[in-house]
Structures are given as C-alpha cells and as structure tokens.
Symmetry: C2
C-alpha cells in the first residue's frame, strides 16, 4: 500500500515534497502530547500549494489511506499524531499572507503561517489578530483553527473561532474528495446558510484540510496595558479572587494563575526573581485606555483584596510586568523539564474555580501525583500538568487515574473536558463522558455525512 501510495502521489506531486525517510517521517508523526499513542505513517507530504493538498486527498481517498494534517505539531492532545498507514500532510510550508485588507480589517492567509509571524506583519499596519495561545511563537494559524485555540487574551477578546470569517478547505463526501470548497464570507456579518466555517473550526482535521483562512482583525490596541499582580497563600484564595473579578463585572484582557510548583519550576530554570514562596500568583492585564483603565486596574486589585492575598498591586515597573508574563509563557516548558507531562485542559464555570482548585490538590495528594497548575483563570480554563518521573510505571498509572478523576470533577461542576486544546486522542474518553449520547450521535452523523470514507484524521475526536 505504501508503494502504491507513493507511486500515485509521485505522479501528481513534485517528489521533493514527499518524505519517506523513516526518521523524518517519525519526527512529523507526533505533536506535543507526550502521553498520546503514535501510529506509523506510510509517508509524509510537505505541501506547498492547495493543489498539492487537493491531489493528495483525492489520491488518499481513492486508496482509502488516512490523511493526518499537521502544522507545527505543538498540539497537546495528540490530534496531529499519525495513525498507522496514513499520509502525514504537513502544511507548515504554506505560509503566505495572501492579503491584508486594512480598510475592512480582514487578512487572508495560508494555514502554515506561525501565529506570532502573522501578528508581526499585521502590527506594521496597525492591525491585530488577537488569539494568543501560549504556543503563539511556534504554532500555526491552521493548527489554531483546527483546535479553536484560545490563549491569554480570550478572556476579553474571544477565541480563534471568533476571528475566522471564512476559509478554503479540501473536503470530501458531498463535495467530492479532493475538491476545494469555499466556506464563509469576508463581510462583518452574514447568515447565508449553515455556518460551516464555525463547524470546521475546532474539528481537528476530521472533516477536511484547511488550505486558506480569512481572518477578522482588530485595530492594534492603543495605550499601555496595566499589569496587576496578586500573591496568595492558597490556590483556593486565588480562585476566590478570580470569581470575584467576574462577579464585579470587570473584564481584564488577561487573568492568569500560576501555582507554587509552576513558579518554582520556572524560577529554578530561569532565575527571574519570581515570588516563588506564594502558593498561587495571579497575573491580570487591563488594556482599557485612560483613566477608565486605571479605575479598572484598581478594581481588579480591590477584587483580589477580598480573598486575603499576601499582596495585590498594580505593577508600576514595565520590566517586572514583562517578566511575569514571560514566566507564564515559560511555565509549560519549565514543568516539562521535570518529566513527561500529562496535560489537562478542563474548563469550569468561573464561580467553581475555588472548588476545582481545591479538588485538584485533593486528587494530587491522594494519588501522590505532582500537579503543576497554570490556568487561564479568568475563563475558568485550567491546565493541571501531571508530572511523572521518567520510567516510573506506577507513577504513570497513578497519574492516569488522577487525570480521569480531574475530568470527572470538572464535569460534575458543569465544566468541559477541553477548553482550548481539543479532544485529539487524550480527551476522547472524556468527550464521551461529557456529551449527551444523542448529541454524540449527531456529531457522528456529521462526521459520516462529510467524510463517509473516514479518511480525514480517523480515530481522533470521535471513535469509529
């Protein structure tokens, strides 16, 4: 099959795009979800054009070969992991910015462009694409679209789906495998038929391969944001402070939490001079301009004060503020240094944050699992990172149990198994526990209708 696939691809697609070297294929066969299983791909294609993507999908459909699309491979749920015998379709070389329309606040880009690279190009024109996953320096827009990536600023500015107006995608089923479909629009509003764009965003490559994205932009923010820092003697106090911010109707442009283990891990690695004694640090940002912004920043301090902080202040030192947010961005790699990380992505109603944080501590203690927690606290989106020593099978089993219990606890609080990382492989079981069985049946109905051959990233998100 591998031979036949290669031959068919070679007839249509320049052979320098095809990767058959086993080690290179393997390096393109997994994302950053260290615990997710990885299959053995038949071949990888580093596509340069939409036509190459279309040809590849058509050929794979003919041969019933699974297609696993990938961007930079920074995913944390295994969504981009190879399945046996698949074609890995690497889109990271399709990086063109086809159009920036400043008058209409629209950009049209290829999926492989890196989030921060796009931001830099837009900044020169006074424009802004808000979604800012912590992976923004490396992750691609296509990957962000596939997982409906969130980030720090979505507490105020929304997630990827809120910025995708339209797209081109190579789809199958009713569109015919290997055909390019135009979805969505480029106007500010539109209700012409079902919102297929919103359906594709977050579908993790299971309904087709996105080859172009039309993005909604914002004017670049004006003025200087304020940073508010709060240190707490317990995670639960920090959770109370966050709940109070929401309750008071404040809308910071970021509201992040780092726990003690995370602070220590970052500090041990980078020596930034963090408040590593605290059990929890909250970092908020307020970008409202002028006096109203000053008032809002003070409002966040006041909300923090209700939860008995060690301190809560508006930072007056730009460098300090920058260091704190740098620490937030470094949290994941800092914890990864300590051992393989099993990443949670649960999201709970914001008022349940104190309860959820207390539960995390309880679960970690009971299973003897080290849990470093970072959180987009303002959204109720928690990333407990379960860390196990390399090669310790008992610890690994304990972590797996803790992982499942955390998901159940989040679901009991009215939460979801995944706030922004996607289902991929790691959250498939959680998804089944979260969704109403009938809703799951509808999900399957859509997958069957749009990919009847089940070749688009099969075995991800939904079970066959």
């Amino acid at each position: 099959m591998s031979e036949q696939l290669l031959e068919a691809l070679g007839r249509e697609i320049p052979t320098d795009r095809l990767v058959t070297d086993v080690d290179v294929v393997a390096s393109l066969s997994a994302d950053d979800a260290e615990w997710a299983p990885v299959g053995k791909a038949a071949v990888a294609l580093r596509a340069r054009t939409e036509q190459e993507v279309a040809d590849a999908v058509r050929i794979c459909a003919d041969l019933r070969v699974p297609v696993v699309p990938r961007g930079a491979g920074t995913g944390l749920s295994g969504g981009a992991n190879a399945v046996d015998g698949c074609l890995v379709l690497d889109l990271s070389r399709m990086t063109a910015v086809k159009e920036v329309d400043a008058d209409n606040l629209v950009a049209v880009v290829e999926p492989g462009i890196v989030n921060d690279d796009l931001k830099a190009i837009l900044r020169e024109q006074g424009l802004w694409y808000p979604p800012d996953p912590a992976s923004a320096p490396w992750s691609t827009i296509g990957g962000n679209v596939a997982t409906n990536a969130g980030g720090l600023c979505c507490v105020k500015y929304g997630v990827t789906r809120d910025y995708v107006l339209g797209m081109r995608a190579v789809m199958g089923g009713p569109a015919g495998y290997g055909n390019v479909v135009r979805l969505g629009r480029r106007t500010a509003k539109g209700v012409a038929g079902y919102d297929l764009t919103a359906l594709m965003v977050g579908s993790e490559g299971t309904l087709g391969v996105v080859t172009e994205v039309t993005l909604r932009l914002r004017p670049a923010p004006r003025g200087v944001p304020r940073t508010i820092v709060g240190a707490f003697t317990s995670l639960v106090d920090a959770g109370r402070a966050v709940a109070e911010v929401t309750r008071r109707g404040l809308t910071p442009s970021a509201l992040e939490l780092l726990d003690h283990d995370t602070l220590v891990a970052v500090e041990d690695w980078k020596h930034l001079g963090l408040e590593a004694d605290a059990e929890a640090l909250l970092l908020a940002r307020v970008d409202t301009p002028g006096v109203a912004g000053d008032d809002e920043a003070q409002g966040v301090v006041d909300a923090f004060e209700t939860a008995d902080p060690v301190f809560a202040v508006v930072s007056t030192d730009d460098q300090e503020a920058e260091t704190l947010f740098a620490a937030r961005r470094l949290a994941y790699p800092a914890l990864e240094r300590l051992g393989p990380v099993l990443t949670e992505d649960v999201c709970v109603p914001r008022s349940s944050l104190p309860t959820m944080l207390a539960t995390l501590g309880e679960i970690g203690d009971r299973h003897g699992v080290k849990i470093g927690t970072i959180a987009h606290a303002g959204d109720g989106n928690l990333h407990p990172l379960l860390i196990t020593p390399v090669g310790d099978d008992a610890a690994r089993a304990a972590a797996q149990e803790a992982f499942e219990e955390i998901i159940d606890a989040a679901l009991r609080l009215g939460g979801t198994v995944t706030g922004e990382h996607g289902v991929g492989l790691l959250k498939m079981d959680g998804l089944r526990r979260e969704l109403d069985p009938l809703s799951l049946a509808v999900q399957h109905g859509i997958k069957s209708a749009l990919d009847p051959l089940n070749i688009f990233n099969p075995g991800k998100v939904l079970t066959a």
Copy 2:
C-alpha cells in the same frame, strides 16, 4: 391527514394548545416578509413545554408532516411562513427565564421570551444581553437564534451566535425524531467536539426546534454613551464617512445610516423634528467610558468631516440623541406605511459601502423603484427597502428585478445576500448565487444527515 394529525396530537398534548380555527391558524402562518409566499398549515400548536414540542415533532415525523417553528413572527425573509399541510409550532408562550447566573454571566431561557423582556430582567441584576435587532421589543430569543439576528450594537459587540453557549433542541436523524438533545456548554470556553451550537444558530428551524438557550451575558455597560450625528448631501458621502471610521480603527457601538426617503417617512409620521433635508444621516454611538470615550467620539466626528458633511457633531442633548435612535427604530414601520415593502439585507465589505450606495441609487432610478435605505453602516449591512404602491403589478415586477440586481451587485463586491435576516424564502435564490456549488452540496449534506425526513421547516434556506 389533517384529521389524523389532530387526533395523534390530541392523544399526547393538551387540546387547549391546539389551534384549528382557520383564521387564527392563518394569523400564525406568516412572518413580516410581505412578499414571501405563504402555505396553508394543517394546524397550529401553541406549545407550553419542551415535552409538548418533543411529542409534536415525533408525531409529525411519524406522519411525515412538516414542522414550521415560529416565535413572534417578526422575521423578514419568510422563514416562519407555513408550508402546505404543516404543523405551525408556536413557541412564543415558552417564555421562562430558567436561570440567571450573575457570577458566571450566563442565562438559561426558553425560546419564546422577547428580547427586550429578557434585557429588562437582566438589567435589574446589572447584566446585559447585547444583541439588539430593531425588532427587539417584539422578537423572541428563539427567533433571534434561528436567524442569528444582528442589530445595532453588533458592530462592536457581535451577533446572536456570539452569545449562544449552548441549547436544548428537539432534533431528528441520528438523534431520533422527537428527542431532546443537549448541545454546547456553559463554560466561557470549550472545544469538546463539533460546534453544533454554532451550526444550529442561524439554521432557521431547518435542523430542529430549539427549546432552551444558554446565553452568554456581559456586565451592564457603565457610563453614558455619546451620540454622534452627521448629515450628508449624498449617500455616497455618508458611505465614505463610514469607510473612514473603520479605516481609522474606531469602534463605535452603533453606526447607523438613514437615507432621505426614510427620514421623510419617519418625520411625516412622527414629527420628531429630524433633519429631513439631508440626503443621508449617520448616527453613531460611542460607549467607551471616560476621556477615552470623548476622544473616540471626536475621532468619529473627524472621520465624518473627511467626507464633506453638512454637519458632524457630538450631540450634547440626551433627548435629541434618544430621538435620533428612536427614528432609526421607527424607520421600517414608517416605510411600511407607504406600501408593501420588499426588504433587502445585503452586507458588503465596509470599504465598498460608497459603491454599493451609489449602485442602489442607480438601480432604483433605472427601474423607477422607490428605495428607502437604512443600514447598519458600520457593518456594511444595508437594508434597502423597496416600496411599491398597493396593487400596482408593474411596479411590483420592477421591484422584483431591482431586488435581484441589488443582490448581484452586493455579491460582485464580495458581499453576502443576507447579513442578519436569514435566507428564509426570499433569499433562497440569492443563496444559490452566493455559495460555491460545492459548499452548497455540503450544506445539503448536513441537512440530509440531520433531517433525513425533511420535516423541519422544509423548503426554506435550501431547495429540496
């Protein structure tokens, strides 16, 4: 069939919910799209509970009777118009606010609650549900969800889809006809499977019947908005002013346009003392608090000034400002007084607004059709209202031609046939012209998968 349907419904549903009186059924058989065809319904059901909706759908599926859901009937595309032999499923009596969760900025409501009624209840708790279609005093949340309604403030705050976190709906197909499906979530973020909630919003009752909606709320706005008024000697100048507002990165919370005919129609009716001499009036609102808001309001004035206005000022008189926005809300009924109105809802990229406005004038002149234009100008969403004298068939034919030409002109500019009213019956042909045929095929694929019996509002949006 009608007998059999009535009998079956009568076995499951309290008979006082059923309406068989021909005149009453007829009164429930059409929305406000005066030009759209209306079929003859078999019977109407004024549902009070989700169970009644579920029973009705199950029975209709068994008997292959079409189900046409409706709220207040304020739609402008014929989406709620009866089809022959259907059950009209009136949800306007399901008006409960089941929950207001101020801590998490979430409300759970039944579909029949009127938009403004919900707003009033939320205001008491310092909360806000932003979407504000001009029909807000009458239209229901369920209807707003069905059409993904927009409104005045969506230029800054987004449309209905942006505020729907989840729902309960009676669906069919993979879920089984007559079963209630829970979709979506109540957390701030979530990517657990395909976004079926976004798919249902704007699907105009063709995929199921929404029985409960979980809405995202915002804190009530603080401070007093400023109103900016600009009068222009041509529609094109007004369009240039709007394009300049966007180009400068300003984000007013409303940016509305009224043309001369509209101003005259409102003034003749209500005698508000409007600037009825102007060829076009722009109304903007800025709700940014404090000095930054003052600056932004002045920025809007400055942008208006670049387009040679008669005048452009920040209104200093609250009553004047209120009157101007009242005039905007009264525009549609004022024009309706002049004759049957054929309502356009095209949306173009904002920079194309001057061209589109010029084209409207040209089309109206060429066909001898009176066109009153109101527009959510800041979104590029235009409502040219084509008015014909009662009983003048030639004028009606001319208006129909002008209607189609306006759609084609919008599509040529990269626009859409419907910004916020939905496709219903009136824009079905336009939808076919707008969408990529393959995209249309995918739309049909979804409809077939989720409603294989084609009983949910058949013959709307997509042709059979």
